[in-house]
């Protein structure tokens, strides 16, 4: 197999678009959530300013090698997830580095950043970081179960592990989407989606009012800026997977933006309506409500 070098600048372009879209989108969703609380919320460009400020801080201190690598792992998790999944269906330019078995790799990448973060936050030596990480890992693990079941169900349904093929099979109108052909898997996947977006009711891990903001307690300056960059890329990358698996993918950037926004709004809407779960409550919720749906999706496919 020959590698085409043109793929590298093309992937970087995807990354650039997604980064900017992610920064604006998270601010927009924050604004919408603020409106639900009758506030105006942050300005739409606030994320850019915060990023610039954090890169511009004059001092930073380190707690060791893993502390450095934590944000790097986190960012590579987000970027890797994005780059190994086709962003725009049918576009040679934005299919990135996707290949035949990329679905498994994507599952792995979703988890990768969290693990890297766990090591980094552990080394920072702050008790809040350690507690935050153990809470985060247990919650993310529980939320990952229904997603894995949903993914297997979809893979069984289409007899392939390639995201491109799964998107191809869903072309030709809404009636062909997994949402219609395999609704149980979509429900299980979306339950898991709620759990992994770090919004209420599953945001106890990062909530400022709980164990002060959890894993990133000790992170500041450029480290924090790296993590903020990832917080813009990672949710979008994750939603690209959901869009590709369940909602027919996107064949143009406009369709992409719209679908990602709507998927994000699912978690935002749930977030402004429901209060926060404690970790053991959310794990129980995933195990009693989401996992059975995932199992049913596999049995019935």
């Amino acid at each position: 197999m020959t590698f085409e070098w043109i793929k590298i600048p093309q992937s970087l372009l995807t990354l650039f678009i997604v980064l900017n879209y992610g920064l604006l989108l998270t601010a927009l969703v924050q604004k919408i959530a603020a409106r639900a609380g009758r506030r105006h919320g942050i300005p739409i460009w606030q994320n850019y300013v915060d990023l610039l400020k954090n890169y511009g801080l004059r001092t930073n201190i380190t707690h060791g090698v893993m502390y450095y690598l934590g944000p790097v792992f986190r960012l590579s998790g987000g970027v890797g997830l994005l780059l190994f999944v086709p962003t725009i269906y049918g576009s040679e330019m934005f299919s990135n580095l996707s290949f035949a078995g990329d679905l498994i790799l994507a599952l792995y990448f979703i988890f990768f950043g969290t693990l890297g973060m766990a090591l980094g936050a552990g080394e920072s030596g702050h008790p809040h970081a350690a507690i935050g990480v153990s809470r985060g890992l247990s919650q993310v693990t529980a939320a990952e179960l229904p997603l894995a079941l949903a993914v297997f169900s979809v893979a069984l349904q289409y007899h392939t592990l390639s995201v491109t093929d799964i998107v191809a099979a869903q072309q030709g109108g809404v009636a062909h989407w997994t949402l219609v052909t395999n609704p149980l898997a979509v429900v299980a996947g979306m339950f898991s989606f709620l759990g992994s977006m770090m919004r209420s009711p599953f945001d106890v891990v990062l909530a400022p009012q709980e164990i002060p903001i959890g894993p990133p307690t000790e992170y500041h300056s450029s480290y924090l800026a790296l993590m903020q960059t990832n917080r813009a890329i990672f949710p979008v990358a994750k939603m690209v997977i959901y869009m590709n698996l369940f909602f027919g993918g996107a064949s143009s950037w406009a369709e992409f933006c719209l679908k990602i926004f709507l998927i994000y709004m699912v978690s935002a809407l749930v977030g402004v309506v429901f209060p926060r779960f404690r970790v053991e409550q959310s794990i129980r919720w995933f195990l009693t409500w989401a996992v059975p749906v995932g199992v049913a999706a596999i049995l019935l496919v």
């Binding site: 603020a34 511009g56 201190i61 307690t217």
Partner: protein, 225 residues
């Protein structure tokens, strides 16, 4: 404590800060000296801005538009911050957000009187913030002691212990006054005059002497990184 013959601060070291021998899970014994092992004892340095004025101006603009307040309320004034977070005044509109950890915050609002006990925590938190950082003194108590001027355990002039950028006077200043103070702080930062962290580093000995004059149970290193 306004005596001239400064008493050398007694240091009643707490148990958990004492030097001790610890046995690891593998049976290996090693010595731990918390004050020296857990903290960095490097002095703070004056950090100049970027070489290019235009870059520094850009950063200053970003700093002024992204004020992250450390969520640490010291006195009555802390109660006035809540209306700022909620729909009535909504300070988020102006790029002002709250952070629960000093590492990520760059603005410390000393919200009212400071007892000596709190001052100790304030110093530790302030020193953990990253350069550049700003301090806003809220209420008369931070200016001259306010109604606590003859109290036995509050400090009077905040300026002697930490470099203050803006004072917001009143007892209690209303949230509007606080917002006006933040706008003033933004002007100061944009003009490149928000250099409190460097001032602190430059006059480090003076600040430390002042701090140690009132804090008698000084059982922490001189610089809390």
């Amino acid at each position: 404590m306004q005596q001239d013959d400064v008493v050398e601060p007694r240091v009643p070291v707490k148990d958990e800060l004492k030097k001790r021998t610890v046995k690891g899970p593998d049976g290996f014994e090693f010595e731990v000296d918390p004050i020296h092992d857990y903290y960095c004892d490097a002095r703070p340095e004056v950090r100049p801005g970027s070489y290019l004025k235009i870059v520094e101006d850009l950063f200053n603009w970003a700093r002024s538009e992204s004020l992250w307040i450390l969520g640490f309320g010291t006195g009555c004034g802390a109660i006035e911050m809540r209306p700022l977070m909620t729909p009535r005044f909504d300070a988020y509109r102006y790029g002002i957000q709250w952070r629960p950890t000093p590492r990520q915050a760059n603005l410390f609002v000393i919200s009212g009187y400071l007892s000596v006990k709190t001052l100790k925590r304030v110093i530790r938190s302030y020193e953990q913030m990253q350069n550049p950082k700003y301090v806003v003194g809220l209420g008369s108590c931070t200016v001259n002691g306010g109604m606590y001027w003859d109290s036995y355990n509050t400090i009077k002039k905040l300026d002697e212990y930490l470099p203050v950028d803006v004072y917001v006077t009143g007892c209690m200043p209303r949230p509007e006054a606080l917002l006006a103070g933040f706008e003033e702080l933004k002007r100061i930062i944009r003009a490149g005059k928000g250099e409190g962290a460097n001032l602190y580093a430059k006059n480090f000995d003076w600040y430390k002497a002042n701090q140690k004059r009132v804090i008698h149970d000084w059982d922490m290193p001189d610089y809390n990184w």
